[in-house]
């Protein structure tokens, strides 16, 4: 199928309609279905041009942005939206900033607590050899053998 898409798609010799900024704004949130990861605003594939035309027509009919998006979701499913819906399995991506901050913050907190506890107790359980190695370590690199 990809091979087929690489072939010439004859473009009809009629001018496309004029598109307002609003059209490109909405198209930018929709996936161009035949492309490898381009939005309907970026792609010049015939289907993307037609999608922009549909958006322009629906805007002219007074439909809202949400209604236009729903129109495409009805035909393609949520896949067509570059902004995943905040429900079900894709709710997790929306939570990912909090999740990441929470996980990393928790790790950092536990680490700092441990490090602090260790600073309070004296380092008595360190072997001679380990101390020697650590001391060598603490030299700046230039002065090492």
């Amino acid at each position: 199928m990809l091979l087929a898409l690489a072939l010439a798609q004859p473009s009809p010799n009629t001018p496309p309609p004029d598109f307002s900024p609003e059209v490109f704004k909405i198209a930018g949130q929709l996936r161009c279905p035949v492309c490898q990861g381009e939005s309907a605003a970026e792609s010049n594939a015939g289907i993307a041009v037609e999608m922009r035309r549909i958006i322009a027509e629906q805007l002219a009919q007074g439909r809202s942005e949400a209604e236009i998006r729903a129109f495409f979701v009805e035909r393609y499913g949520d896949w067509i939206l570059y902004e995943p819906p905040a429900r079900g399995l894709t709710l997790w991506v929306w939570l990912s900033p909090l999740l990441g901050l929470g996980l990393l913050g928790f790790g950092l907190w536990r680490y700092l607590a441990r490090v602090r506890a260790r600073a309070l107790t004296t380092a008595s359980d360190v072997s001679e050899e380990e101390i020697a190695r650590l001391e060598a370590e603490l030299q700046s690199p230039e002065r090492q053998p």
Binding site: M1, L2, L3, A4, L5, L7, A8, Q9, P10, P12, P33, V34, G46, I47, V49, E50, M51, R53, I54, E74, R75, Y76, G77, W79, G107
Partner: protein, 174 residues
């Protein structure tokens, strides 16, 4: 957490392995399956007008199962698929309607293609692919299997093999 590193690495590896071995990475399930097929009526390409009238499409009262085939003259898999569809059309034309929808194409190129493969099943012309979008197509060829009541049973993306086509026809005639 770090203690379980083999688990994390294996999970990631498993995910990617699964992703790599998928037979068809780009396959998209149609949301239309199990729902009524969107109705439409489009002008037929010239060679079919004498037999079928000026327009044709999916509407109530067809009384026949339909294989809706979205194609274009510039699509390579369509070239191997067209003779196959033609053969099945000859065999099943009384029981099943094979209806082509020519999308993203110029009419002249489409007519040349039809002539070249001697296609007798009707095709409508949808130069800008509007009906294709109504059906949620994401490439050509694509085939929608629609039963007698007008419900979409399946969507096949990509070229049909003979066995697959036979399977769909049996499914729809059942």
């Amino acid at each position: 957490m770090l203690r379980f590193w083999p688990v994390w690495v294996l999970l990631l590896g498993g995910l990617f392995y699964w992703g790599l071995q998928r037979p068809n990475k780009d396959e998209l399930q149609s949301v239309l399956v199990g729902k009524p097929a969107p109705s439409f009526s489009l002008p037929l390409l010239a060679p079919y007008r004498a037999q079928y009238g000026a327009e044709m499409g999916i509407q109530e009262g067809l009384g026949k199962p339909v294989l809706l085939n979205i194609w274009a003259s510039w699509c390579i898999p369509c070239r191997t698929e067209a003779p196959l569809l033609e053969r099945f059309h000859q065999q099943y034309k009384d029981q099943v309607l094979i209806l082509g929808v020519n999308v993203q194409d110029s009419e002249a190129e489409a007519l040349k293609f039809i002539q070249q493969y001697g296609l007798t099943f009707p095709s409508v012309y949808d130069g800008r692919g509007r009906i294709g979008i109504e059906y949620g197509y994401y490439g050509v060829p694509e085939t929608f299997v629609i039963d007698r009541k007008g419900t979409v049973l399946a969507r096949h993306a990509g070229e049909l093999s003979e066995a697959q086509l036979r399977g769909y026809i049996e499914q729809v005639l059942r």
